[in-house]
Symmetry: C2
Subunit: 305 residues, 2 copies
């Protein structure tokens, strides 16, 4: 019902980072693309199969050093239902290798519809007497624009299944301030207010390390806001995107951590997935390159906490 | 690049409503469930197949009187990738029957990730030299919390493929005010500000009936705000959920329309899908019951515009 499992893995591996699996067919190694196209033609099946192979290579190379993967739904929906099958297979594979799985879906809706999303990604579904897990992640990113009606169904599923959610608070993109930095009458910004809601919503999902099951997404590209939110939201665990390709560095994310070096997990996607393009290595060694970059990133972050 | 196609269909059929296809395996007629379970066992395949049959029955019964369907992603994700295959098949079937298809996904992300969602739902994807449509709806609902970075990729795809988006502004749920009604320093509420952004973003997608390709979701359960937004956002087309099961009536939605009776499309999901449970009829006649309710709803709304 909280992030205890994630925090335990972070402590075990002494690594507060998460590898993003956001693969794009156009960007993955040529040999994976040509193998899949040879088997399935130029089709969504081929793309989905190539992405699955790419992901399993990364997971194999990362699972003993990186505690978690963040799987971005958009890159799977892009390849239709075949892509969604790869999403499901990737989650199962990562879990079989002991990784904590965050599905990055930024889902949002209300009432029974939000219950459907919660069941889909974090819960189970009954088909008559048979219970089955549609996707089965450990945590889901969500958007809180609709208020508590969109969060309550998730809290229920998190409590029942020992899962967590990350609510968007201050996102890493340049125009995040367009709404999120707006000042409310109270003097608080929209993102500060959303952070406060996370802290409040999380009270229903307490964890043994002091962090609740309602976390917050706060971008590495806004280091000041990150430090400020760390102080103001002592029970809210942070998922921090924006390290690496988006420009955030280890110094920028240092403020996300508490005095024990906990309280946050830092995500990098492109810089790990496509590390082979920046390193002097064959594309066949993309997974090894990813492992080297993941180690570099871990050490970079640990050295600055 | 706007809602011209939707508005044309609304005028042709003289019906400003949309039927929501949000089917839940637990709630659809027994004969569809048992047929599917007999063929596929108690599995996600069975659920997905039953939902597809249910949907095609509804589409057949509605396509000559209702201009559009709104397909809620959550109810398809709930049944895994098999459910997503039903989402894809349902969209294709509805389009083959001449209906305008709105995918209700409330998607949101930034940059290349949002491009992936846009390609998935409104655009095409290239697998080497082959171009394919992953889901192929006419419009998508989106959440604007991340600002213009999350909207720009959609605007590009809408312009290229003649599609539209609906941004969440004032949602129909009881706790929508938790964030959306908060007053900004400027005196404007968050939802009013989001509405203004829609009006501004929409300028890039002008339409021939005066409505741009960036629409807004505004709930029927807030009639005052609906009328007020209609006045303030003259070029923003409204998707109005909350009629029927959620408690909104024809008088509540009247303010969504302009003086020509255009400017909005009113959605009902449960009251149409499950009309057979309220009417004296066999469950085998669920589609006829849905048609009767859709006609009643249309006449109810037209009588009050």
């Amino acid at each position: 019902m909280s992030f205890d499992l994630l925090i335990t893995k972070i402590k075990e591996l002494r690594n507060p980072t998460v590898a993003g699996l956001d693969p794009d067919f156009d960007k993955i190694p040529e040999f994976l693309k040509s193998e899949a196209v040879a088997e399935y033609g130029e089709s969504l099946e081929a793309a989905a199969e190539a992405l699955y192979k790419f992901n399993t290579g990364l997971i194999d190379a990362l699972c003993d050093i990186v505690p978690a993967v963040k799987i971005q739904c958009a890159y799977y929906e892009k390849y239709g239902w075949q892509g969604m099958r790869t999403l499901s297979r990737t989650i199962k594979y990562a879990k079989s290798k002991g990784m904590f799985v965050i599905t990055d879906g930024k889902r949002n809706d209300i009432g029974s519809t939000m219950e459907a999303y919660a069941a889909a990604h974090l819960g189970t579904v009954n088909i008559n007497a048979s219970e089955t897990e549609p996707f089965g992640a450990d945590a889901l990113t969500v958007n809180g624009y609709l208020g508590k009606d969109g969060i309550a169904p998730l809290i229920k599923i998190c409590r029942e299944n020992d899962k967590g959610i990350f609510v968007l608070v201050k996102t890493s993109n340049p125009s995040s301030g367009e709404l999120q930095d707006k000042k409310l009458e109270s003097g608080m910004t929209v993102y500060e207010y959303m952070g406060e809601l996370c802290e409040k919503w999380g009270e229903e999902l307490p964890g043994k390390f002091g962090y609740n099951g309602v976390g917050a997404v706060v971008g590495a590209t806004y280091p000041e806001q990150l430090s400020e939110l760390r102080r103001k939201l002592p029970h809210t665990f942070f998922l921090v995107p924006g390290y690496g390709a988006q420009g955030g560095g280890a110094k920028d994310v240092a403020g996300a951590f508490d005095k024990d070096g906990l309280g946050a997990v830092i995500n990098a996607s492109r810089s790990i997935m496509y590390a082979y393009k920046k390193q002097v290595c064959a594309e066949e060694d993309y997974a090894l390159a990813a492992r080297r970059e993941a180690i570099r990133m871990r050490d970079d972050i640990l050295a600055n906490i």
